[in-house]
Every structure is written in C-alpha cells, then in structure tokens.
C-alpha cells in the first residue's frame, strides 16, 4: 500500500509539535514527576538527544522515513480484532483488541526502537545499548540494529535470561551481544543500572535506546511519541467499526510504554476512561508484586521522579511478577501524573488472574497473548462486568505469547 497524506503519520500524530497541552515542561516535568536525576556526565548526552528529537519530530523527512519503516517493516497499521467469544466472559461488553502482537518481532516495542534507531543515525552514533526485561525490547532493539547496521549490546537480568531463554537466543542470532546482569535482583531494574553504567562510559559513540516511558527526560516523551501510533490507529479503527469512541481503554503497565502508546490519542476524549493494569504478582497483601502506582510511594528511580516500590529509607524494593516485562519497581512519570490528576485509573491484576485470561483468550479466540498483555485482558474482563453489555472496551494486546510458552508449560502443566 502506498502511503498517502491522509493515512500517513503526521507531526501531530507523532509528537504533537506543540499542539497538545500535555507535553512535559522544559525540564521534562509532568506536574511534579519526571525530570532528571542522573550523573552530570550524562546531561550533555540527554541534551543532545532532546535537541535532535525536537528537530526530528517536525522534520517531514524523518517522519516519512519512520512512517515507511512502520508500514513496510513493522507491519503497520495493525488490525483491530473484535473478540465476542472472549467477551462472553466479560458480561457481554464488546471487546476490541489492538493487535500489536502482529507486528514484526511480536510486540509494540518495535515502534519505539525503529524511531530511536533512526534518531541514533541522526545523532551520528554507531552503537546502541538497551535494557530488557522479558526480552521483547532487547529483541526489537537487536532487530532495528541489524536493519540499520548498528552495533548492539543488550543488558538483561540473569534471572530474566533464564526465564526468557528463547529471546536471548533471538537477540544473539540478530547479532547482538547479550550481557547477563548478575547483581541485585537480576531483573529489569538491575539491567537498567548496568546500561546506564555502559552509557556514561561510551556516550561519545553510543545511544542508550531506552525501552519504556521511564528514565530521565527526554526518554519518557520520546518513547511515548514513538508508541503513540498505537492509539492514533486504534482510535480511528474503533470509530470506523462501532461509529463511536470506546468507553474504556485498557492496557498493562510495567514501565508503561504500551499503555501510554494506546492512551495518548484518547487523552482529550474526556468520556473515554483509561485503565492501566499493574502486575499484582502473588497478591498485594504478601508483598510480592509490581504494584508501583497502586502500592508505591513517590521517589526517584532511574533518573526520574515517579512512583516507586521503596522502603521507608528509599531503598528500592524488588518487584515480582510472573511476567518479566512488568517486573519493575518503577513506572513512567507521565503515568504517575495521570494517576494524580485522575485522568487514568490504575489497578492490580494478580499472576493468577493474568494466567486465566491468557488461557481464556487462547481457547476462545485462537490468540495466544503475551503474559504482560494478559494483565490488560484480565482487567477488561473485570471492567466489562462492571460496565455492562452496552460497553465498548478497547484493549491493547501489546504482544504475543510465543516467548511465554516455557512459563505457560510450567504453570498449566502442559
């Protein structure tokens, strides 16, 4: 399909170009959240990325190139699938899935990495590094690096390397070096620490291709803008299919990139409720969870002021989730702001609820979702029963479940 002006991404789709009122301020603050808490050595690099992105986001040449990659490489636009057999379990509400699982590499992460890989080339850097939890962002980064001829190093918690061994193999096959991180909890947060250490050492020729809407300014804004296409397409598709806007939009929240990606185009539609579902792990009461927004407190983690799982002395508390992609004790600052302003609602979904939804979607619709996305599906089941059969609920199916088969085999004794 040839992109036409009518269907192509516009500067407003990508970044707003100043047309929206909810961009962070000059210091990267969303209200009291965000900002920069990083070693001074990194400030010039962050300034450089911010300045280059400011230019890129209104440069039609850049936007065309990004748009072209999304269409011809990532497989956009992704389709919208109505799932009536699944929805029977949600009180009969209409449930529509935004199929990010059908993108190349199998998750929404590809949108951000293609944008940032293009930005890396504009910055004149030859090497990218990234952190990864479930491995999806690592695979996506390794993919974009292979496509664009960039050297690629992925930091991944040793514990995650084990539970996502298939993704480790994929990254290696794509030519990336995967470094297992053995300190701390050996999960995503420790991979981020290690990636920052690499970046401060190699910043002259390396771009840190940050994978979620957290971290220091400008990452929360850049990652959001590159993921924003999810909601832009979905909003159009829901209108086409149903003739109206959805009552609610549901997404899973770890760091929060797929959620911001689908939420953002609906931000000014005040009647559309936004629901983010965090990983409740083994349950809020026993402390083994990743309920950053619903159980955490305000603090600083990985360069940004946001909600954090921390003890009374500011030490990070290790999170738990059956889904590696949601196993993170922080969250993007824009989500913290959306929580405080009340624009979005955040709730927990336990491992058990997520795995039930995972199996239910597979059985009723023939779609095996990522366990991350299954948290949003479980949330939609709950929400549908509350809202009733007239409701239309959009769910961001952020990724596919192929990578989770090891976990599923164990969980369900398959």
């Amino acid at each position: 399909m040839t992109p036409t002006e009518a269907t192509m991404i516009t500067p407003a789709d990508l970044a707003g170009g100043g047309v929206r009122g909810d961009d962070p301020d000059v210091h990267g603050k969303f209200g009291r959240f965000g900002g920069r808490y990083v070693p001074e050595a990194l400030i010039p690099a962050l300034d450089e990325v911010a300045a280059e992105y400011e230019k890129a986001k209104t440069d039609l040449g850049f936007i065309r190139e990004f748009d072209h990659l999304l269409r011809t490489y990532a497989g956009r636009p992704t389709t919208l699938t109505e799932v009536p057999r699944f929805a029977e379990h949600a009180g009969g509400a209409r449930i529509l899935l935004k199929r990010e699982d059908l993108t190349h590499t199998g998750a929404h992460k590809i949108n951000n990495v293609l944008g940032q890989a293009l930005l890396t080339k504009r910055l004149g850097k030859r090497r990218v590094i990234a952190e990864t939890g479930a491995g999806q962002h690592g695979v996506a980064t390794a993919t974009a690096a292979a496509l664009m001829g960039l050297e690629c190093v992925i930091y991944m918690g040793a514990f995650d390397c084990e539970r996502q061994a298939l993704n480790v193999a994929r990254m290696k096959l794509l030519g990336a070096t995967v470094v297992p991180v053995t300190n701390g909890s050996q999960t995503l947060k420790d991979a981020i620490n290690e990636a920052f250490r690499d970046w401060v050492t190699n910043v002259d020729h390396t771009h840190y291709l940050f994978g979620t809407v957290a971290g220091p300014h400008p990452f929360p804004e850049i990652v959001r803008d590159f993921a924003r296409i999810i909601g832009v397409e979905a909003r159009r598709q829901v209108l086409e299919l149903t003739g109206r806007l959805p009552d609610a939009v549901c997404a899973a929240v770890g760091g929060g990139s797929n959620a911001i990606g689908v939420f953002h185009a609906f931000m000014e539609d005040q009647d559309v409720k936004l629901y983010g579902y965090e990983a409740g792990g083994r349950g809020a009461e026993n402390g083994e969870h990743a309920l950053t927004l619903t159980q955490g407190s305000v603090g600083v983690l990985h360069g940004s002021r946001t909600y954090v799982l921390q003890d009374e002395e500011g030490q990070t508390i290790e999170s738990h989730s059956i889904s590696a992609g949601l196993d993170y004790p922080g969250v993007g600052p824009e989500h913290a702001w959306l929580k405080d302003t009340g624009r979005a609602t955040y709730e927990g979904v336990t491992d058990e609820e997520a795995m039930e939804a995972f199996a239910l979607l597979a059985r009723t619709e023939g779609i095996i979702p990522a366990i991350e996305s299954s948290h949003a599906l479980a949330g939609a089941l709950r929400l549908g029963r509350e809202l009733g059969p007239e409701a239309v609920i959009l769910v961001n199916l952020s990724g596919r479940g192929d990578k989770d088969m090891g976990t599923a085999m164990k969980y369900f004794n398959l």
Binding site: G35, Y37, I43, A45, G184, I192, V203, E313, Q315
Partner: protein
C-alpha cells in the same frame, strides 16, 4: 569539627593537595567502617566521604557495588550512616556523606541536613542530583550550615560547569573520566583540562575523583588539583584482606602512600 574550608586552607598553606578517602557505611561492618576510616585519617586522609548504601548505585563500578551490597545485606540503615559519620568526625577529619538522591528525598531533605549536621557531618556529595532539581537540598543544607558538593564531568560544557559550580560550597568534585567509579591503570588525561575549565568558573577548591588508586597517581593529580579523591582502591584493600586486622593495616598503608603522593 573540622570544616572543608579549614582543610583546604591548611593544605594550601602546606603547598599540597588535600587527600579525600571514601568508604561506604556498614562496610566491612558497621564498626569496621569507623575503624577503617579512622585508620585512613590517622595515616593522612584530610576528608572522609561516608557512602550511604543505596540499592541502585548506577554510577558505581563493581568494587563499590560489591561493598554497598554487603553493607545493605548487613542491614545498614540511615541511622547507622549518621552514627558512622559521628564516629569518623571524632578522628578530626572533615566528614561528608556521599549519597544518591532518593534516600535523602525519602528521609526528608530538612531532616537529613539537620541530622547530618548534628552528627558532626560537614556536607554531602550528591552524584545524581542535578542543579535543576537541587533547590530543596540547597535550602535545607544552608539552613543546617552544611556544604553541598556536586560533580562536573569531562563532557560538561562550560555553561554547565558554571551552573554546577554555582550550587557547590566546600569544593567542586571533578570526575576525571567518563565512566563509573573504580581504580584504573592510569588517570584520565581529561582530568587536568576539566580542573582548568572549572577554575574559570569558581574560586572553590576543585578535587578530582574516579580512577585514582596509588601514590603516583595521587601525586600526578595533586600537581593540578586541590584535592585527590580515592574510594575503590581502599575498598579493594578491605575486600582482599583475610581478616579485619590486616584490612585495617592495608588501608592504613594505602592512605600513607597516597598522603605522600599529595605532598610530592
């Protein structure tokens, strides 16, 4: 209580650089940290930085990460950090706390500044607190009469150096290289230029840290800086020692070597 100003005045009068040593509180044990820092002071350290152990030390290399992890595993709390400062300050050294921002943020900026001053601490070094976010901490520190030390890096453009230096009292911490903490084979050549550029924006002393680990390197840095900061090399001595007694002897020996270095 010895102030930073007194330290640098004295060093200048003796025509030498000041020696600054770093150790995290609670490492190798709570009492062991006080003993080791005291030994370092007795052997020639003018200033001690007590590290506040934090779960996510993203600008620290493997040596400090290891020590901090052990300290946290030992159950070190902020009250222990303050007790450590109190113990070390008795040795006569100007004693600072080096900490990532979140523990202070959570503890309360005013409360931390007050409690640190009460413990005999003279200031803080805050490696991930940027000037843009520093207002509450500058106000609290001023109120309690403690110094605020921030870092500049080789990558810092001049306007950034000016901005950071304007937030500093006591001294400016010049990171000698682009990287994390840890001893290196040689001191980065970027350090001297950075000290020179920093002096153009401040009359405060400028101390160099990251990658300094022996007497020769200390002498090299002392030739152009007001202070030499050593951390990982002390920790390495403690990590490698078979027992506490030989650990103390090893840090004492290193401090003596460095103290001779800054006097060359």
């Amino acid at each position: 209580m010895t102030t930073l100003q007194a330290v640098f005045d004295k060093a200048r009068a003796e025509d030498r650089a000041a020696l600054v040593g770093y150790l995290p509180a609670g490492f190798p044990t709570k009492d062991g940290a006080v003993a080791a820092a005291t030994a370092m002071v007795e052997a020639g350290c003018d200033v001690i930085e007590i590290g506040l152990p934090y779960s996510d030390p993203l600008m620290d290399g493997p040596t400090i990460q290891d020590a901090v992890h052990r300290s946290l595993t030992n159950g070190t709390r902020i009250a222990d950090v303050l007790r450590t400062v109190e113990g070390v300050a008795k040795s006569g050294a100007a004693t600072l706390v080096m900490t990532y921002w979140n523990p202070i943020d959570r503890y309360g900026a005013e409360r931390f500044a007050r409690d640190l001053a009460s413990a005999g601490g003279v200031g803080t070094i805050t490696p991930d607190l940027t000037p843009e976010e520093s207002d509450p901490w500058l106000a609290a520190s001023k109120e309690s009469g403690i110094d605020t030390v921030f870092l500049v890096a080789p990558s810092s453009p001049d306007e950034r150096i000016a901005r950071v230096a304007a937030c500093c009292t006591g001294f400016v911490y010049a990171a000698s290289l682009m990287g994390v903490t840890g001893a290196r084979e040689s001191v980065s050549s970027a350090a001297e230029g950075l000290v020179k550029r920093t002096r153009a924006h401040t009359g405060l002393p400028v101390c160099v840290g990251l990658g300094v680990g022996n007497g020769a390197q200390a002498a090299e840095v002392a030739a152009y800086a007001d202070g030499v900061i050593v951390g990982s090399a002390f920790i390495r001595r403690l990590l490698d020692a078979p027992d506490e007694k030989s650990g103390l002897a090893a840090v004492r020996e290193l401090a003596s070597e460095l103290a001779r270095g800054v006097r060359r």
